[in-house]
Amino acid sequence: MTEQFTRREFLQSACITMGALMVGTGGLEKAYAASSTTTSDTKMPSCDVLIIGSGGAGLRAAVNAMKKNPKLSVVVVSKTMPSRSATTMAEGGINGVVDFSKGDSYELHAYDTVKGGDFLVDQDSSIKFCKAAGEAINELDYLGMPFSRTKEGKVKARPFGGASKVRCNFSADKTGHIVAHTCLNDAISSGVKFLMDHELLDIGVDNGRCEGAVLRNIRTGDIAPVRAKSVIIATGGYTRIFWNRTSTPYISTGDGVAAALRAGVAFKDPEMVQFHPTGVVHGGTLITEAARGEGGYLLNNQGERFMKKYAPSKMELGPRDIVARAIETEIREGRAFGQGLEAYVLLDVRHLGKEKIIKDLPQIRHVGKLFENIDLVDQPMIIRPTAHYSMGGIDVAKFDDMSTPIPGLFSAGEASCVSIHGANRLGGNSLSDAVVTGKIAGEGAAAYASKADFSAGKRLHDLAFQWNSRFKEVTSNSGDAKAMYAIREELGAQNWDNMGIFRTQAKLTSLSSGLEELQARYKTLRIPNPNPVYNTAFTEYVELGNLLLLSQAACLAASERKESRGAHTREDFLKRDDANFLKHSMVTMNESGKLQIGWRDVEITQFKVEERKY
């Protein structure tokens, strides 16, 4: 170690010498310049279009809002640096029909999507979505996304769960990472401004109209209202309600969905959470569906490819809800390995050969080594389902501009619910959703902002004042942080045990009272850190509040939906019940903060509702 430091010191002194030699040549280039934006100001700006979230959806929204009307000021808010999003974690691919030569079409993609979503999909939205998804693939290619390629130099696709044709376009097994960075590069080159390290606390709605948002500058601790003509919520999903049994990043705490719910927008289909079949046993990180798309086997403790019992024609490539239930059934019926939360089945890709694994599945090989000390080349991976995607989200009334029922408020990506995915999302549709709905929301919000004026912002000021008081009240030099983490752990475990893959009325009733008890404990929490500077404990406190609220909404809808559909399996109501529940659950919050449930009919246009078989 000493040697390394010496070498380092030597090199640095060498650099200083080099620098001295260079003097006189680099004057002009030293324009390291005052090109910095207003982003580091402590004073928060007003802007025309305020986008919360910097994943694929937020970034596409920003670029397209600027394109739609270059005169508008567009700002992207992120509680981290823009490339830390859940988008980067998607692996397998991005759906979209670009090759029509083998009988594929937008309609067929839409049909697979509707069927995959167990007919809880708004069919009109799904058709528009699939057309836009196909177009988005070529657009991403044009923007510089490096796709894996066919012999003809076209974008390469692989088979994926629930799809009747090959249309899951990919870039090795890092498609999400590549999409995220393509979108980020485009946003950076297009001059999008970022407010990094800023957290959404609330959305201001007054006189039925969106006024802007209350943001906390995490760096300084300043909590301030930001007025905006239109706001786009693209904060991603809320699967962190399962805390450590989810594949999503720590930051997927549904902040935007919770803020929208508090601001009076309905939380649509909150009970619809997708469980991905193949999560890492320890920590829930994902092993991509591409492992099965490329030909991987699922094996129980008899060495049997058990999917033949559950989806004989599709086998391992059945849709995610069916495969996840199959694995949990094998575990419950004693045909798995391990016990309790440590139970697992095997995912075997060894027969694909070392070369293919290294070339096409490098990321999952790395994850296997990192979390379980398993090299997929030599050993089968140990896996168990993990919460993965939020089909539910902020009620978006209109696909054409991704507007919510509140004028000036838009939503896109996983945070939104325009009912493309219904009760179960198809693998590969999430990245398409992010880039497609992001773009539409950006254009919609820009069109709205071009005509709108700023509102007075009174409600925003009140909310900012309340949050400032709350920070002072909650943080102090005393208090017990362990209590906060205990609530978060218990929340995850209770949600997993009672609102996981198999649900019953008894479990959900017990969860409901469990959540009330956790809420009561949350209200008395005190965080022993009064420092306003980058107080991550307070960030976690705010996130936990959101997770509790969203869990309650999901629990309410899960109790009320007395049928099994897609990812929502009620063991006490095993059949799908189209007569009563071919409807979206709509959870809203009333004036006194109580959650209520309502229903909205599913839009059915060209596809007949039928039994879902694979």
Binding site: M1, Q4, R8, L11, A14, C15, M18, L21, T25, G26, L28, E29, K30, A31, Y32, S35, S36, T39, S40, T80, M81, S83, R84, S85, T88, M89, V98, N138, E139, D141, Y142, G144, P146, F147, R149, K151, E152, G153, V155, S171, K174, T182, L184, N185, D186, I188, S189, M196, D197, R219, I251, T285, H366, L370, A481, K482, N529, V533, T536, A537
Partner: protein
């Protein structure tokens, strides 16, 4: 085991030592250890993390002076690397402004990324509607650089940035410029090369530390060297850096095959600057150069082969 963490609360810097049992952390990653400390010992400790599986780049920190992404660093590997030390020193990434504890400011780096226009500008035969065409080899050529997760490890290791960041950018910025410039779909690599040149491309000191520690095994140093060659091929020849490179080439190929350090200095800096800087005198004093060789030295053995090798490399590069 002791973890000495360098802290900053927005006003003052200090060190804080946390003690954990080795058996409790043996199976963990460094990120899990940081989470354990935060959740059980000190909630005021600040750091950033998001994906926990080495794809989002949020959790870069330094361990005993060197940069790692915490979620991708198993403690067992760190024990091995640091020979069973009982103390680790954890610090924020170097060459970034510290905001709080292990949290650093990414804004200047983002502004640097802006300078090199990281997005592809596609050739005119391609369109939004039809997309592009690229063969697998062309894809393979750039895909390694697309592994970059903006974790900042290379920047933390960069000796040039430590010495003087006023005329240089983070190594990953050059890697972003490289991948855009070398994409077969790109209309004009100069869109990315020019701003690289004007923002410090020639100031890299080849220490290779960025390449040594990149968690994705990308060599920004190679990308920088490759961008320099591209810049010169495209006629960006003026300035100290290109002159320095050309001097190497002239000596190795056209002259003796031996690097003539006196002429290198003269060609690079020009006669007056070199004399003022005393380079030649210093070199002579160090016994590195016979002053008479300013007029040319004796040719090395196997010079023809060397020239052939360089020409072959040249040809390969042009393909």
């Amino acid at each position: 085991m002791k973890f000495i963490i360098e802290r900053f609360d927005g006003k003052k810097s200090y060190e804080q030592t946390y003690t954990v049992e080795k058996k409790d952390i043996e199976a963990l990653t460094l990120l899990s250890v940081l989470l354990l400390i935060k959740q059980t010992q000190d909630v005021t400790l600040n750091f950033t993390a998001s994906c926990r599986c080495a794809i989002c780049g949020a959790c870069g920190v330094r361990v005993n002076g060197h940069a790692y992404i915490a979620c991708d660093s198993k403690m067992t590997e760190l024990f091995e690397e640091y020979k069973d030390t009982d103390t680790f020193r954890i610090a924020p990434l170097a060459n970034f402004k510290v905001i709080s504890d292990l949290v650093v400011d990414w804004e200047p780096a983002m502004e640097n990324l802006r300078k090199i226009k990281p997005a592809l500008v596609a050739k005119s035969e391609f369109s939004v509607k039809e997309g592009c065409r690229q063969n697998q080899e062309e894809f393979d050529r750039i895909i390694k650089q697309w592994d970059c997760i903006l974790c900042g490890v290379c920047a933390s290791e960069c000796n040039k940035l430590s010495a003087d960041n006023s005329d240089y950018m983070e190594p990953f910025v050059f890697t972003h410029a490289w991948r855009a410039a070398n994409d077969s779909r790109s209309k004009d690599p100069m869109i990315h090369v020019k701003p690289s040149v004007t923002n410090g491309l020639w100031n890299c000191v080849h220490c290779q530390e960025c390449a040594n520690r990149c968690p994705k095994h990308i060599s920004s140093a190679d990308d920088i060297a490759s961008l320099r060659a591209l810049a010169m091929r495209k006629g960006l020849n003026s300035g100290v850096g290109p002159a320095h490179a050309k001097s190497f080439y002239t000596d190795l190929v056209e002259d003796s095959g031996r690097l003539n350090e006196i002429r290198l200095a003269l060609r690079t800096e020009g006669v007056s600057t070199a004399l003022r800087a005393g380079t030649a005198i210093t070199l002579m004093g160090a016994g590195k150069m016979n002053p008479l060789e300013i007029f040319g030295g004796h040719t090395i053995e196997g010079h023809k082969d060397l020239v052939k090798m360089i020409e072959a490399a040249h040809a390969a590069n042009k393909e």
